[in-house]
Amino acid sequence: MQPPMTLPDRMPAGLLDIESLDRREIEAILDRARFFQPLPNESYRRLDALRGKTIVNLFFEASTRTRVSFEIAAKRLGADTLSIAAQGSSTSKGESLVDTLNTLVAMRPSAIVMRHAASGAPQFLARHLHIPIVNAGDGTHEHPTQALLDARTILDRLPALEGLRVAIIGDIAHSRVARSNIHLLSKFGAEIVLCGPPSLLPRELERLAPGVRLAYDMMEAIRGADVIMMLRVQLERQHEAPMAASEYFRFYGLRLEHLALARPDVIVMHPGPINRGRELSSEVADSQRSVILNQVENGVAVRMAVLERILSDPQPDGRV
């Protein structure tokens, strides 16, 4: 299906989640991201669409790839950026989240990119602050730019999302990546199979979006898959004894022999950081089917598209 030609409205409040975006908005970002993708052996385009803008990257949780990716994206668009690892900031002196943000907002940045361990933290702030907020991952809720870059990566290899069979395997319960991907893929009519140990795969997931079904058996989940997304086991978010690592890898770890069950052109994705031998074998991670580094690469292009969309001044003809 062709995307409509009219350009959607600007996102007024930044980017909080995928669930509330419509297909048209997602398509516009994915199309624009393609424009930002570098040619082989080149770096990203350097533009000055966001010259004079200041973007604060506020990370309350450790992050390397997402933070660096946002920072490069902003710089490539000509914005000034400032990254704060908030574990060492005034929050550790007892300041509340709203007060911390109000303090930053008083210095007039153009947007805040935030990662936070609490689900809903960006939604909560968006109600109290008048500044665009880009959610770089909130607790176990959503990670919208990850789903966008995953979609971009799939579309670089496969013609459309519609009708694709996507297996998402691992710790679904604690995965914000899974939630954002489920919403995005469902909006485009993909068939989504979620697979993991029962305690990490709540039955209610089936009712989260159309096209979702659950499987506890990995073979069943992978059979006929066009895309396999592996997730990291988020030990830091689990509050009870996890499954033994060896047991987990035996039943939910992706190995080369599994790939024979999938479609011949299947691609294997992982949001990183990967744990070799825990959720996937080294052979799979390094195989031709793996697009894990393409995902990282697309992260910059997709985040450029998102930041440009949120922050660039409207053009005279109404385009953004």
């Binding site: 509340s96 609490a118 689900s119 809903g120 909560f124 909130d138 809720h141 939630r179 209610e204």
Partner: protein, 426 residues
């Protein structure tokens, strides 16, 4: 003391099956007569034309935060909020600082209430010392000091053996045992009802089963000990079924529901607004429907608010960091009219029972009736005046209500305690 004539209203007193236009005369703090053309020379007159005149409403589940947490509420401000909500009597839960687990704390509350309270205040004592769930509190001494029930509300007694002993003592003292039924292992870390909405929002869930297993345990212990047992803020479908079953076996059990548990569901948490965070959590549609059915069928005995004030700074945080609880005194009647009466689920008389004879019977209070000789506690309310709840105008010290800005049809008109008008609309 003077006299008060409440004139021209529709007097609705379920305790005596009275429902007719009449005047109510209160003299020396007691109901003297109900009728027409009463001799009321020298009496102050309150015009109740167009309104309903009912026995004073009782809220058996309120947190007044005094002593120790006075920045959120005091006995004085909580009572003002109660009066503004049409309540003439409230019962305060023991989770203060210190916990009301001794006659000393009970006496303090009783004394403070005598000094500053505009409505009647009864104290509920703790089941265990410090509500820590281990050693029984001084239940007998607290009874002498005035408690009307025992409960470790908010910190449920997890040890079944301790609960059994508490029930045995309560039975001997003729006190009801009120339990906040929650298995803390099943609910640990949860912030909202466990279901498709918690999965969607990425918040940790509190399953319905965490309530159900404790209701089941307590009903078994109540049967074994013969204690009077009361389920606080019941919120699940299976708990309704189990209470009904226990009653059919002849057990002396009762239960209450809060207005928010029959008025709203977990689908309203979409914006991570902590004013929707409480325990038990807002449940899913099927639980809410079952609770309403329980009200209709008579399984549920009382409406209680679980009024739980929290300072703004505590609620102005990430959802998972905010404390549980919302205020409720000023919206209870409006919500009950809207969700139960105007939607034709129950009649007005049944609603009044849930606020009067229901809680009075559970706690064995000599209130909730307009029979001559009873305390002169009267709630005057109407069913059709439209109004909007503005939480900034609340009499409570706290502002944590999800019902700010909600339009209501019908609500309190005047609150009369012991023959004295303590609050009127406008």
């Amino acid at each position: 003391m003077t006299s008060l004539l409440v004139r021209g209203g529709r007097v609705l007193d379920p305790s005596s099956d009275f429902d007719a236009p009449a005047d109510v005369l209160i003299r020396e703090g007691r109901i003297e007569a109900i009728g027409n053309g009463l001799n009321a020379d020298g009496a102050e007159v309150f015009d109740a034309a167009g309104a309903i005149v009912a026995p004073g409403f009782i809220d058996m589940h309120v947190h007044l935060r005094e002593p120790g947490i006075e920045h959120a509420e005091t006995i004085e401000t909580g009572c003002k909020a109660a009066a503004a909500g049409g309540f003439t009597t409230i019962c305060c839960m023991p989770n203060t600082v210190p916990v009301n687990d001794s006659a000393t704390v009970t006496s303090y509350i009783v004394q403070r209430a005598r000094e500053v309270a505009s409505v009647n205040v009864y104290a509920i004592g703790a089941i265990t010392k410090g509500s820590l769930g281990e050693e029984l509190a001084a239940i007998g001494s607290m009874k002498e000091a005035g408690i009307v029930a025992i409960s470790d509300d908010g910190r449920p007694v997890m040890n079944a053996r301790v609960m059994r002993r508490a029930m045995e003592i309560a039975r001997a003292l003729d006190l009801p045992v009120i339990d906040h039924c929650e298995d803390l292992n099943l609910s640990a870390g949860g912030d909202m009802h466990e279901g498709v909405e918690s999965v969607r929002l990425g918040l940790r869930g509190i399953p319905s089963s965490s309530e159900d297993v404790m209701v089941a345990r307590d009903l078994l212990l109540a049967e074994q000990t013969g204690a009077r047992f009361h389920v606080a803020h019941l919120s699940t479908s299976r708990s309704v079924t189990m209470v009904a079953f226990a009653r059919s076996r002849g057990l002396n059990v009762s239960c209450e529901v809060t207005p928010h548990h029959f008025a709203i569901t977990d689908e309203e948490l979409g914006a991570y607004d902590s004013n929707y965070k409480m325990k038990p959590p807002l449940r899913c549609r099927s639980d809410v429907d079952a609770v309403i059915d329980g009200i209709v069928s008579g399984v549920i005995d009382a409406i209680a608010t679980d009024h739980a004030p929290h300072a703004g700074s505590e609620k102005m945080q990430e959802f998972e960091r905010c404390p549980f609880g919302i205020t409720g005194l000023e919206t209870a009647l409006g919500l009950s009219l809207a969700e139960l009466v105007h939607k034709n689920r129950i009649g007005l008389s049944r609603m009044v029972e849930l606020f009067t004879t229901g809680p009075a019977a559970i706690l064995k209070l000599d209130r909730g009736t307009l029979r001559p000789g009873a305390h002169g506690d009267v709630t005057v309310f109407d069913v059709d005046t439209e109004w909007t709840f503005d939480v900034q105008q609340s009499c409570s010290k706290s502002r944590n209500s999800p019902f700010h800005g909600r339009r209501f049809r019908g609500g309190p008109v005047a609150t009369i305690v012991g023959g004295r008008i303590v609050w009127t609309r406008e």
